[in-house]
Symmetry: C2
Subunit: 191 residues, 2 copies
């Protein structure tokens, strides 16, 4: 591995936010999954979690992800399982929800350990996710369409998290598990 590439991977690892993650509930369009994974990488989210609609989607989505080498995609069997996992990590669980009572996404404190849940392209977030989450949030819209594309909404919220965490000095400080870092350094050197 060239010294430049080693430095690049190490810089990436220093910017990974081990306590910030995103979870996709029943997303079925591969291009949306792929766009979310690229954004996750770009803001330093090390893992993308997913609850698949069907086994078939799981496989095709996984293959379609492309940039998946640097972001781990972890599957859960149910919404409750995923949320339990996040709680076990001490994370606040935020769900995106197109409701009048949801809070503006810019009012949330993302410097706390945070899991962000995005809903299905057609039906949105499940009632179960809404019931189990700490808070529902929305990206305000002033037009006529009902919703944004799911990967667009995810990116707006993750970049707001990035902005807050940057201001709080949470980038450039390695927090990622050493075993994960070693795996990336090894695989990145032998692509």
């Amino acid at each position: 591995m060239s010294p430049e590439r080693l430095a690049r991977i190490n810089a990436m690892l220093d910017n990974r936010q081990s306590d910030l993650t995103i979870c996709l509930e029943h997303i079925h369009k591969p291009h949306n999954l792929s766009a979310v994974i690229r954004t996750a990488d770009a803001v330093g989210v090390p893992e993308v979690h997913a609850i698949w609609l069907a086994e078939s989607t799981r496989v095709s989505n996984h293959k379609a992800s492309g940039s998946g080498q640097w972001v781990d995609v972890r599957s859960h069997d149910s919404t409750a399982d995923a949320i339990n996992h996040f709680r076990g990590q001490g994370m606040q669980v935020l769900v995106t929800n197109l409701s009048d009572t949801a809070v503006d996404y810019r009012e949330i404190d993302y410097t706390r350990p945070t899991a962000l849940m995005m809903g299905n392209e057609k039906d949105g977030i499940s009632d179960q996710a809404l019931a189990l989450a700490d808070q529902d949030i929305i990206v305000p819209m002033v037009g006529m369409v009902q919703s944004l594309n799911v990967s667009v909404a995810a990116a707006l919220i993750l970049y707001e998290a990035q902005r807050q965490r940057q201001a709080a000095g949470l980038y450039g400080v390695r927090t990622l598990d050493e075993a994960i870092c070693q795996r990336h350094l090894f695989e990145g050197g032998h692509p």
Copy 2:
């Protein structure tokens, strides 16, 4: 038309930013065009401009747009034509460019009349657009992927513009041409 719907359309028209627009250079994936149009509507951008790669893309893209009723898609024959059009409206022209010298998108003043140009999925922005623009801008990334999805990058910049313009009191004040407003009120009442 119900009073509620009339009020909704009027509120939308009051939030339209007649001096903020976006231009897509040679975008060819319909789902990206569609996502950009939804975001444009959501932040109050009344028109999306496009320079098509080929006549065939133009037609299929246009049909795929869906939410197009509330956002006008205007075509230009060339990048130079499009930029001339924006200059004629007194707009600063910003191009997105994945370069070390591009300015962080959060440092730009979007309360000025602004046209934002996005590049092709594969090749990015053209050299011509870069040469003719006032400024190139970038959404910073701290991971390993080379770029964000184009509709994701567009949304991050447009929502930063929305944030600045909201703070400057530019929403809720009708600036859109009266003829355009009348057309939307008419068509929206007879969908």
